[in-house]
């Protein structure tokens, strides 16, 4: 069997989608956390001066924002390093990685910000 260098290359499509994968993770964690928290009554428990469920959801949101920030940094680095014999496609992948990372960050902010202002289980 001859090992082809193509074996890992489609992984780049997943990397390029990283910003939206992190956003999808934030969406799942926020919705699942909200559903489970409401079912188990976590909103009746006080933590750090607020109800525990809001604190949990805000923390989940914050973790994902930090992840988005880190990924944005990584994507920009990818853009800077996009040189070599396949520079055209490398630039393209780095470009869509950066744009998708920005989209993911904006989406995470837009969808998750409500956890700070709305009561969780009303």
């Amino acid at each position: 069997m001859t090992r082809s260098p193509a074996i890992a290359s489609p992984v780049w499509l997943a990397v390029a989608s990283g910003g939206l994968i992190i956003w999808a993770s934030s969406f799942v964690f926020l919705y699942a956390g909200l559903s489970i928290g409401c079912a188990l009554g976590w909103h009746h428990v006080t933590l750090l001066g607020a109800n525990a469920l809001t604190v949990l959801l805000a923390a989940l949101w914050l973790v994902h924002l930090v992840l988005q920030g880190c990924f944005q940094w990584y994507a920009l680095g990818l853009w800077k390093r996009a040189t070599g014999p396949n520079e055209g496609v490398a630039r393209f992948i780095a470009g869509i990685t950066c744009l998708i990372a920005a989209t993911g960050l904006a989406s995470t902010v837009f969808i998750g910000a409500a956890v700070l202002v709305l009561p969780p289980c009303a």
Partner: protein, 839 residues
């Protein structure tokens, strides 16, 4: 480079003659064995068109019934069947198959390939569509058509409220069709990633291929939730396992979640391919390269992701917390942005070019105009307070038709006229096409624009009649008149297409002056598409090098070297487009037909409750699929073969990542999604459903789970060792490991079957027991398949299909075993650890 570099002295005529002999399809009954993508794609499209006509006739019956108040044209029972079948036929039997047909036909041609990655799989998918669709549509002849609405909400569709066979027909027929959809989804992903011409790196891939790549992933991820939901509801109806029955721990909302996890992405599964078609046509009519390519690729990917976060947008009124509503409302608004990006890119392309008004362009303007309306009402419906007001009214009916007809049907009609010369070799005549457009366009807006107001006045959907005092008569009458005008337009369109196909003027090559590769072929194209496959260096190869078409026909590029009677195409690195293998495609075969026929026996026997026959059908299908797998591959090791342009490439059985490898990986994405939904259902019922806790939990005795997990780990180990033994000492050394794997799989399968038999109360007792049993069956099924794969690959080792170079069988078995061991462990954890912690 000269022709002699490639063809060893063949003249172009001899080259084409040889290729025609290799790619020839059988006639007579042998047509059932054809697998060529052009033939299968056209069959899909014809089937989709037939179903469209059936769905259209049903729509006319709906409009005839609603034209006046207190109308007695059809009774309520018939009306329930009619509107259910209209939605079902249009969504499952027209839209998806039509998209798939267009993609199967067009993709290899725009990608510069000779066929798809798995031609037999697409033939199998077509037959599943025909058989499943026939079950669903045929039920109308017996007055047994589904009648619970196209989204089959429980408890209405449960046995208690729909005791007849109607709902079973939907569940079984549509599941059969979904097998087809997932098969085609896998086919498309692998084709787009691996089967392109040389130099077609990701940044040079046509936007239609990008749109189909995103769509195919969405099919692979989006259909399993509905397949699972349909299995659960059918099992509930057939065996009384109460997944959705509230007084035994089930929850009707679980169905809604599973359905809309599929249902909302489905809208984009229909819309995105249409945008891809638009992005292929607009540059031709603008006479300018596409403006904003990268932004549109990002927009397609973003739409694909965000569309999976909209499903509760259909469930605003079921009573969930405001904060959750805000999540879904925000996502529903957000998804409009990438769609707008595509619109601006199309406008920018037209703005930058010198557009001319061909007939397809007229239909594209119809799309641009109509879809904007649908998008705007979509944003309105994303807003929770507005949705509460108009939920389940005709406003929603108007919105969804603006989105689907505007966003899919108009681009499809444009595409039909645009690619008619490619398919038929004949030029369209614009006169009838113009008339058809205006009838459809005016008829559509007369029908559905006013329907917004009917909805705002409070008329609910799915009522078979209404009282004159409500004041809806005039609005409905206008809608009905518009509907019939639109139907006349569609009838004219079909007549026009048939006439043009039969009697149109012969088209010359590339009649629109397009830049994409499909127009570099003779019209209509040969079954092998291209005599040789070019090296491309831009997104519009025919604009970059006008002489390319003649060079390809002359055999001056890759694979202009017929040999061994092989149907060959290039395999490339998924990112760079660098050729890395020669893919030898399978020819005509009876296996797709026999496999689909065996599944038909299974599904139909299950429907009519002949369970022994259903088991026989499943067994026959298993044997046929194993024989199908047996027929693949080579029995001798290969060295690199000349591919053209001085390159030598290995045939795909000799490389590490042939299409079969990627197909297996993508199959696991679909399978894993189904498993994730199963876990979601288990936890959802536990956390949310009324009637919990159940009367009893699983027997905590660790013997059964210990046997199951140990056997799975042992099986995964044997599969791993078999790969290494083959690499080190040849296939003979792998056989003992595969025999051990067979035994491990059988033991694990037995252990999982023992769970519902011995460790829990009967699954009819409570939704908890039903869910546990279903998860155990899922584990047993995978362990059983793992055992069969060990057996199959072991036999192929003995038969000479496997060697250290040709090791795909063993690696696929290892992959399956790894997946099975992982999900098996998760199942045991969920079934045994969670109750232990929770109680």
């Amino acid at each position: 480079m000269s022709a002699a570099d490639n063809d060893g002295g063949r003249s172009p005529v001899e080259l084409h003659r040889e290729l025609e002999a290799i790619w020839r399809n059988p006639g007579g009954l042998g047509r059932l064995t054809v697998v060529n993508h052009s033939v299968i794609g056209i069959r899909f499209m014809i089937a989709g068109a037939i179903f469209f006509v059936i769905g259209g006739v049903l729509a006319m019956l709906i409009r005839a019934q609603l034209a006046t108040s207190d109308n007695a044209f059809v009774g309520h029972e018939a009306y329930n069947q009619i509107f259910t079948m209209h939605g079902t036929v249009m969504m499952f039997l027209f839209a998806i198959p039509m998209i798939e047909g267009v993609a199967l036909y067009l993709l290899p041609k725009v990608l510069g390939a000779r066929d798809l990655a798995f031609p037999r799989l697409s033939a199998f998918g077509f037959l599943c569509l025909v058989f499943g669709g026939s079950i669903v549509v045929g039920s109308m002849l017996f007055g047994l058509a589904p009648d619970s609405g196209w989204f089959m909400y429980t408890p209405l569709s449960s046995r208690e409220f729909t005791p007849g066979i109607n709902a079973d027909i939907w569940l079984i027929g549509i599941t059969f069709v979904e097998v087809s959809a997932v098969a085609i989804g896998i086919e498309l992903v692998v084709t787009i990633l691996k089967i392109r011409t040389a130099g077609m790196a990701l940044h040079r891939m046509p936007l239609f291929a990008w749109a189909m790549l995103v769509t195919a992933f969405m099919i692979v991820l989006g259909f399993p939730p509905l397949i699972l939901g349909a299995i659960m509801l059918e099992v509930e109806r057939a065996f009384d396992w109460p997944f959705f029955i509230a007084d035994r721990g089930g929850d009707a909302l679980l169905w809604q979640h599973l359905f809309w996890l599929f249902g909302h992405p489905e809208v984009y599964i229909i819309f995105l391919p249409a945008t891809g078609l638009v992005s292929l046509m607009i540059p031709t009519f603008a006479r300018h390269p596409f403006v904003g390519y990268t932004a549109v690729v990002v927009a397609l990917i973003a739409t694909g992701f965000i569309s999976f976060a909209l499903w509760v947008h259909h469930m605003y009124v079921v009573g969930i917390p405001y904060l959750a509503l805000v999540f879904f409302s925000a996502a529903s608004m957000l998804v409009a942005i990438p769609t707008a990006v595509q619109f601006f890119a199309w406008i920018a392309t037209l703005w930058a070019g010198r557009p001319y008004m061909g007939l397809p362009m007229l239909y594209l303007f119809g799309f641009l105009f109509t879809f904007v309306f649908g998008g705007l009402t979509g944003v309105m419906l994303a807003l929770v307070p507005f949705d509460w007001q108009v939920h389940d009214t005709h406003f929603v009916v108007a919105h969804l038709h603006y989105v689907l007809v505007g966003g899919f049907v108009f681009p499809l009609l444009a595409a039909a006229y645009y690619w008619l010369p490619l398919i038929s070799g004949r030029n369209p005549n614009p006169r009838l096409g113009h008339l058809a457009f205006w009838l459809i366009f005016i008829g559509f807006h007369v029908t559905f624009f006013i329907m917004h107001f009917t909805g705002l006045m409070g008329m609910p959907r799915r009522v078979y009649t209404y009282h004159p005092a409500f004041g809806w008569d005039l609005f409905n009458l206008i809608s009905s008149i518009g509907g019939f005008v639109m139907s006349a337009g569609f009838a004219l369109f079909f007549i026009d297409i048939i006439l043009q196909t039969l009697h149109g003027r012969r088209a010359r090559r590339n009649p629109w002056g397009a830049g994409t590769l499909e127009w570099g072929m003779s019209l209509p194209p040969k079954l092998y598409n291209f005599a040789s496959l070019p090296e491309v260096s831009g997104r519009d190869p025919l604009w970059d090098r006008p002489e390319l078409a003649a060079e390809m026909a002359g055999g001056h590029h890759y694979l202009g070297i017929p040999r061994n009677n092989w149907q060959e195409t290039l395999g490339v690195d998924a990112v760079t487009g660098r050729p890395d293998q020669i893919i030898i495609l399978p020819g005509p075969s009876w296996y797709p037909f026999l496999g689909a026929a065996a599944l038909l026996v299974f599904f139909f026997s299950f429907l009519v409750q002949l369970y022994p026959l259903a088991i026989a059908g499943a067994a026959a299908a298993t044997v046929i699929f194993m024989l199908w797998g047996w027929a693949n591959g080579l029995k001798v090791d290969q060295s690199a073969l000349p591919a053209g342009h001085g390159k030598h490439l290995l045939p795909h059985p000799a490389v590490s990542d042939p299409p079969g490898w990627w197909g297996t990986c993508i199959t696991f994405v679909a399978d894993g999604t189904l498993f994730a939904c199963l876990l979601f259902g288990y936890f959802f019922l536990w956390a949310v459903a009324p009637g919990w806790p159940p009367p009893s939990f699983i027997d905590p005795d660790p013997l059964i789970p210990a046997i199951a997990v140990t056997a799975l780990i042992a099986g995964a180990f044997t599969a791993h060792r078999a790969v290494h033994a083959n690499a080190a000492s040849g296939p003979g050394a792998a056989i003992p490991w595969q025999i051990a794997g067979l035994l491990a799989g059988l033991v694990a399968c037995g252990a999982y079957i023992a769970i519902p038999l011995y460790a829990i109360a009967p699954p009819t007792t409570h939704a908890y027991h039903a869910t546990v049993a279903l998860m155990a069956i899922y584990g047993a099924f995978h362990a059983g398949v793992a055992a069969l794969l060990s057996l199959h690959s072991g036999l192929r080792c003995a038969a000479g299909y496997v060697s250290p170079q040709r090791s795909l069988d063993l690696r696929v078995a290892r992959l399956w075993w790894g997946y099975t061991a992982a999900i098996g462990a998760i199942i045991v954890l969920a079934l045994y650890a969670i109750p232990a912690v929770a109680t």
